[in-house]
C-alpha cells in the first residue's frame, strides 16, 4: 500500500469515527497510532504515544493554556463578568436594545480575560439573560446575541483558538493574540450596530429599562477597574515584550487572585470552583492536543500535506479562488466540529499551503478563526447554537437560529472588512516588540 493511500484511508476512518461521536482526542490518537504503525512499524508507533504524552504535557509554550483557562474561570468565580454587565447596564441599559448591547460589551471585555467562547457566553449569559427577560426582551434577540457575542472570547486575546493555531503552525502566540484585538473590537461594534438597527426596525424586540442616574453610573465604574487592570497588565505585558504569553498567563492568574483578595471575593468555594472548572477544561483540551500531536505524526509521514499541495497546484486556480474555497470548507467544518479540534486537525495541513501562495500567516490565521466561528452559528447545524439550545432549554433551536442570522451578517461584513483592509489585523502585530 502506498503512503498516500494509507493517509487517505486514515483520514476517511478519522471522519467516520468523528461523526459517530467518538471523543475527538481518542479518534486522533487511535488513527494516528494505527496509521503511523502501518508506515513505520508497531514499535515506533507505540513509542510515539509515550513520547507525545510527555512532550506535549511538558511544553513550556502550551503552559499558556491551563493558566489562561484558570485566569478566566477565577475571574468568573470572583464575579468580574457580572460586574462588567452591571456597569454596562448602568451606562447603556436604558437604550432600546441596551441590555443586549451591554451583554455584547461585557462579552467583549470579558473575552479579554477569558479565552473560551462557551465560558464567555455562559459567564455573561447567566446574568444577562434573566435581566433581558425581566425587561421583556424577545428570546430571538437575547439568545441570538448571546450565541454570537460568546465568539468574541475566541477572537479577543487571550484566545485559546489562537494559542492552538500559533502552536500547530509555529507562529508567535503573542503576535496572533494582538492581531485579534482590532477584529474583535470591529466585530463587537458591528454587533452593537446590528442591535440598534434591528430594534429600530422592530421596537417590540426590547423594552428600554429605567435609566440610571449619573451618580450611579460614575459610582459603578469602580466595579470595572479590576478587569481593566488585569487586561492592561496581561495584554500590555505581551504587547510591550515585558513577558512571554506563558508568563503573562501566570501573572494573569496572580492578578485575578489579587483582585479577588482586594474585592473580598477570594473565598474557598470560589477558588476551588475556579480550579475545578479549569481542570475539567484543561483535561479535555490536553487529551485533544496529545491526540492531535500523535495524529500529526501520522499525517506527516503519510506525506498528505505534500500531495495536497501538488493537487492544488495542478488545479491551476487563482490564489483568491483557493482562499475562497478554503473559507467555505472551514464554514462547513464549523457547522459540526468545535473550533479547537478543527484548528488542530486542519491548520498544519492547510496553513502552509495558503502561506506558500503568498498570504500573510497572521492575516490568514485570523480569517480562518472568524470563518470557523461563523460556521458555529450558521443554520441548520451550527454547533454553538446546538450547545446553547441544550443550556437554554425553554427556547427552540429555530428561535436561536433566527436570532443569530442578523449577527451572522455582521460577521460576514467583518470578514469582508478584514479581507479588504488587512491592516486591521496586521497593524498591531507589526508594531509589536519581540517578547
Amino acid at each position: 500500500m502506498s503512503l498516500a493511500l494509507i493517509g487517505v484511508i486514515g483520514l476517511c476512518m478519522f471522519f467516520v469515527l468523528l461523526f459517530l461521536n467518538m471523543p475527538i482526542g481518542i479518534v486522533m490518537a487511535l488513527v494516528g497510532l494505527v496509521g503511523f504503525s502501518l508506515i513505520r512499524g508497531w514499535g515506533a508507533g507505540l513509542s510515539v504515544l509515550s513520547v507525545q504524552a510527555f512532550r506535549t504535557a511538558s511544553d513550556f509554550n502550551l503552559g499558556v493554556i491551563p493558566l489562561f483557562i484558570a485566569m478566566g474561570f477565577l475571574a468568573m468565580r470572583f464575579g468580574l463578568s457580572s460586574d462588567l454587565f452591571y456597569v454596562m447596564n448602568k451606562w447603556i441599559g436604558h437604550l432600546r436594545g441596551g441590555l443586549a448591547m451591554a451583554a455584547t460589551l461585557a462579552c467583549a471585555i470579558f473575552g479579554a480575560i477569558c479565552g473560551d467562547a462557551v465560558a464567555t457566553a455562559a459567564a455573561v449569559g447567566t446574568i444577562a439573560l434573566p435581566e433581558m427577560r425581566k425587561y421583556k426582551y424577545k428570546d430571538i434577540l437575547s439568545t441570538g446575541i448571546l450565541a454570537s457575542a460568546g465568539n468574541l472570547g475566541l477572537l479577543i486575546p487571550p484566545s485559546l483558538a489562537f494559542v492552538i493555531y500559533a502552536i500547530v503552525t509555529e507562529q508567535s502566540i503573542g503576535q496572533l493574540f494582538i492581531a485579534g484585538v482590532f477584529p474583535g473590537i470591529l466585530l463587537a461594534t458591528l454587533f452593537i450596530i446590528t442591535i440598534m438597527i434591528w430594534c429600530k426596525i422592530n421596537p417590540s424586540l426590547a423594552t428600554p429599562s429605567p435609566p440610571a442616574t449619573w451618580g450611579e453610573r460614575v459610582k459603578s465604574i469602580r466595579y470595572i477597574l479590576g478587569s481593566f487592570l488585569l487586561i492592561v497588565l496581561v495584554l500590555g505585558g505581551i504587547y510591550g515584550g515585558v513577558f512571554t504569553p506563558t508568563e503573562a498567563a501566570a501573572i494573569g492568574v496572580f492578578g485575578a487572585l489579587l483582585i479577588g483578595l482586594i474585592f473580598k471575593r477570594l473565598t474557598w468555594p470560589a477558588f476551588a470552583g475556579g480550579i475545578k472548572d479549569s481542570a475539567a477544561l484543561t483535561g479535555k483540551l490536553f487529551l485533544l492536543i496529545i491526540g492531535a500531536m500523535i495524529f500529526m505524526r501520522f499525517i506527516t509521514v503519510s506525506e498528505i500535506p505534500l500531495h495536497l499541495s501538488e493537487v492544488i497546484a495542478a488545479l491551476e486556480l487563482s490564489r483568491f479562488t483557493i482562499l475562497a474555497i478554503t473559507l467555505v470548507i472551514y464554514i462547513i467544518l464549523g457547522f459540526v466540529v468545535d473550533i479547537i479540534p478543527i484548528v488542530l486537525i486542519t491548520a498544519p495541513v492547510l496553513h502552509p499551503v495558503l502561506v506558500g501562495m503568498g498570504y500573510d500567516p497572521i492575516w490568514i490565521s485570523v480569517l480562518i478563526v472568524i470563518t470557523i466561528l461563523m460556521g458555529g452559528i450558521t443554520p441548520p447545524v451550527g454547533i454553538v447554537v446546538f450547545a446553547l439550545s441544550g443550556v437554554i432549554k425553554d427556547v427552540s433551536m429555530y428561535t436561536i437560529f433566527k436570532g443569530v442570522l442578523p449577527f451572522l451578517i455582521s460577521m460576514i461584513v467583518c470578514l469582508a472588512f478584514l479581507i479588504a483592509f488587512p491592516d486591521i489585523v496586521l497593524f498591531l502585530p507589526e508594531l509589536m516588540k519581540p517578547g
Binding site: 468523528l18 461523526f19 461521536n21 504535557a57 492568574v253 477558588f271 481542570a279 490536553f286
Partner: protein
Amino acid sequence: MLSRIGSFISKILFQIGNRSIVAMGAVMIFVVLMVVVDVTLRRVFNNPLSFSFEVMGFGLVIMVWSSILYSTARERHISVDVLVARFPEKVRLILRCAFDFVSAVILLLIGWQSIIYAMQQHDMNAISMILDVPLYPFIYIVAFGAILGGLMLFVHFVNSLRGKGEI
C-alpha cells in the same frame, strides 16, 4: 460479590480522580508565584531565575495529567454528537460502549508505553539541562495519570454496558 468489588474499585478511582484537583491547584499556585518572582527579578534586578523555564515544564506535567485524570472521572470528552443525537437509543448505547472501551485501551496503552519510556530514561540517566533533575519520575507521572484515566474509562465502559449513565 464481584459487583461489590467493582463498585468499591470504581469508588476509589473516582476519589483519586476528584482528589487530583488538589495536586493541580497546588502546582498551579507554585508555578504562578515562581513566574511572578522570576519576572520581577528579571525586570527589576536583571537577574532572572535560570531554572524557571525547566520547573514550569515539570509543573505542567503534573497540572496537565492531574487535569486529564479529573476530567476523565467527571465528564465525557469533546466529541461531535450532532449526527448521533438522531440515532435510536440502542445504537447510541452500543456506540458509547464501544468508544468507552477503545478510549480506555488507548489511555492504558499510553500508560504502558510511558512506563517503558520512563525505564529507558532511567537506564540512560537522562536529566534536565539546567537543574540536572532526572526526567523519569515525571514520565512515571504521565504513566500513573494515563493508567488511572484508562481504568476510569473502563469503569465508564462497564457502566455503559449495564445501561447506566448518560447516552
